[in-house]
Symmetry: C2
Subunit: 224 residues, 2 copies
DNA sequence: TCAAAAGTGTTAGATTTACACCCATGA
DNA sequence: TCATGGGTGTAAATCTAACACTTTTGA
């Protein structure tokens, strides 16, 4: 049990970038840091990796603690380990991003943790290197979204094509042609039209669609 | 100095996946592990992150220690932190990949470290989760190679178009049409034809090309 | 009746892919 | 002289991008 004892040990933590989509905007969940150093600064939510806990496990636990939700889409962004990144101690932190449907998120839990949804493009300065983590997380998500149908994770289980388009526009940061977008979506068998109509956003009403994961798994190709 | 003292500390190490290109094949530099646990197993080269050392710094140092070379192309792959990934202790490891030109690598240093170039497709079982690290590193490199001209880092400063094509084929794992490939290369102003001829691989001789980084920087777009 | 969002096809241009022969040279 | 790797262009097919009007309905 003393194989590596001549080497230094450090703290390892996990920080999660939680993306949401609301009012046509891409949002990030941030809060005021509750511990020293940096108490009171805007910050991502995070936690320390326990002695016998895997880092993915730790990220999943942190995420669950925060949202009460399980099986969220989550991916590692990378490790951040500049020697002075944390003003208090030497901490190497591993960033993860996760996608949640804002409506699934219990408002009470959000308030209990003192968290807020902030527009990606209006983020304040965050603790330590958290702004950089968020930037890199978005880049990862953008890449992933081109090749895997993960956008649905940010939407209710039923959604309109306009909502979906706004989502892709918000994430990619560029406008998409409506007709071209709908053409591409209609080629994807795993996006199914339901016979329900959403009347909330227009008088005419828009058809509601649903992502069918088992159809996707039969032919898991995706290209937007 | 005791902000996080209730949390566990762990060892953090860095493992480097060093890619090379030789005889038309993509190679990885591996060696026999020199310490317990796992002494004698095939392994990536790595090292522990020191108390006041950034992780990128640590990777660069490890790489320099190993090759004697500086300013190599190097990128992080990600953090690996399953609780039992190291059979001896709890170690979170951060994988990096680097590209080197095999000819720049001092043969003596290689032997001193007991390292060998092994074809990517013939890798033996490696220590711990190192095989997975290598797989992920290759995927990263493949992605990167589509959008940035980093392949040159694996070649001598002058190379023939056939060599370059073989390189891209080896990395991507698929054949490329010769004429289409050369067409695309000739659209890139930063790949310059020299007036030298390489006669080593054919009687006729092949024109030698060179990557011109300052031309690239003027218009840094790349798409293979 | 009109404002507001939903819904729908076509065409030109750009990009990608497939494909086969001549060239130069040393052995 | 011939075997070997170097070098070159065109045409079909596919993909991408641009673009404007009609429909429905609640207020």
């Amino acid at each position: 049990m003393t194989y590596y004892s001549e080497h230094a040990k450090v703290w390892v933590s996990v920080d999660v970038i939680i993306f949401g989509f609301e009012e046509g905007k891409l949002k990030v969940l941030i809060g005021r840091r509750q511990m020293d150093p940096g108490r009171g600064e805007w910050s991502l939510y995070g936690g320390f990796v326990a002695a016998n806990e895997g880092i993915d496990e730790c990220a999943a636990r942190t995420l669950h603690e925060l949202t009460g939700l399980q099986n969220l889409f989550m991916r590692q962004v990378g490790a951040f380990g500049a020697p002075d990144r944390d003003p208090g101690e030497r901490v190497v932190s591993i960033a993860y991003y996760a996608l949640i449907n804002v409506n699934d998120y219990d408002e009470r839990l959000r308030q209990e943790h003192g968290l807020q949804w902030v527009d990606y493009y209006s983020l304040p300065q965050l603790y330590s290197d958290h702004n950089e983590m968020v930037r890199q997380a978005l880049r990862r998500m953008q890449m992933k979204m081109r090749v895997e149908p993960i956008g649905f994770r940010l939407l209710p289980s039923m959604f309109t094509l306009t909502q979906l388009q706004r989502l892709y526009e918000a994430v990619s940061g560029q406008e998409i042609d409506k007709r071209n977008f709908r053409k591409r979506i209609k080629d994807m068998d795993f996006i199914e039209k339901t016979d329900l109509i959403d009347k909330r956003t227009s008088k005419r009403g828009a058809a509601l669609y649903r992502f069918n994961d088992s159809v996707y798994k039969e032919d898991p190709t995706f290209k937007l």
